[in-house]
Symmetry: C2
Subunit: 159 residues, 2 copies
DNA sequence: CTAATTGGTCAATAAAGTTGACAATTAGAT
DNA sequence: ATCTAATTGTCAACTTTATTGACCAATTAG
């Protein structure tokens, strides 16, 4: 059995570990880009908030953060607080239902989101070079299937 | 444009978000399996330690945990402390170099690891049913490429 | 017009990670 | 054989992040 065709290193690494480490590549790249651009006070989950908010144009309801980050509403409120204090977000009440809060990116927030997106796209591009568009498409579909599995109607936490 | 062939929901979800949520499917399943089997005191990163240790037979050096979890050596030490206290791990000093520490699964640790692995495999099997072996293989390769990108020689943190 | 539900806040606390200082062990150079 | 120097991990103090429980305000259902 020759060295040159030994099985790849990831052969018996379990999928959740691969997912974790793969995401870390993005995480490190995005964090470093933000740091270098002077946005060095974004809290851990802030990456997700800022990145996620970038695409939803009209602002994101707090409840959505709670569900997607899988944290308590108090933690979500505190996270938003921090991001508002540090100038990345602005709160707004939903005029339809004045209990509801939505958050939007501030000027500074949009700048940070842009830096983060650039870093992400750089990784995307490099990956595209390595594995090609088809594999990326299949990977995305596979990940989506996995996500759908976790969204069975009974999975929502009560709080 | 008909409803039935609208673009899939994940179309413009960025890859790091897909990775995050996909991993959450595993995380939730594994956590729930552990809870239901009575192993309800495993700390957050403990999932990774226990799952990762399951395969490395001889025990894992502490330094490896530090690098893979990307936490400080102090945090790693504390995590191991907790897992030892709660009966999942056992410490052992490397006789070659008595500074070095390795951890191995205790009896209880192995039982927890088995429960966790079963949950993981159940998700694996379900995924296999949905997307097929080929897509999983390509996904694994793609993730591995992404991980390799993040392991450039200059990426190791100093501490 | 109550009563229940939903959406969020406040306060206290717990959990997890960080930094800084230091002890023990090993390695490298005299 | 030491005498540095580097590696590996611990201790202690502190910061950050998230949780629980009690509560208030706005909305919706009877």
């Amino acid at each position: 059995m020759s060295e040159s065709e030994s099985k790849p290193w990831y052969e018996d690494v379990v999928l959740p570990a691969l997912l974790r480490h793969a995401r870390t590549t993005y995480g490190v790249a995005m964090r470093r880009a933000l740091d270098e651009a002077g946005y060095d006070d974004v809290p851990k989950n802030g990456l997700y908030v800022i990145g996620g908010l970038a695409m939803g144009a009209g602002g994101v309801p707090l409840g959505q953060l709670i569900r997607e980050l899988r944290i308590s509403k108090q933690a979500a409120g505190q996270l938003v607080d921090t991001l508002v204090t540090r100038g990345y977000l602005e709160r707004a009440v939903d005029p339809e239902d004045r209990r509801k809060l939505t958050v939007t990116l501030s000027e500074r927030g949009r700048a940070a989101a842009a830096a983060q997106a650039a870093a992400r796209e750089k990784v995307d591009a490099e990956l595209l070079d390595i594995v090609g568009a088809d594999d990326i498409q299949r990977t995305r579909r596979t990940l989506a299937a996995l996500i759908d599995m976790g969204n069975a109607p009974d999975e929502q936490p009560d709080d």
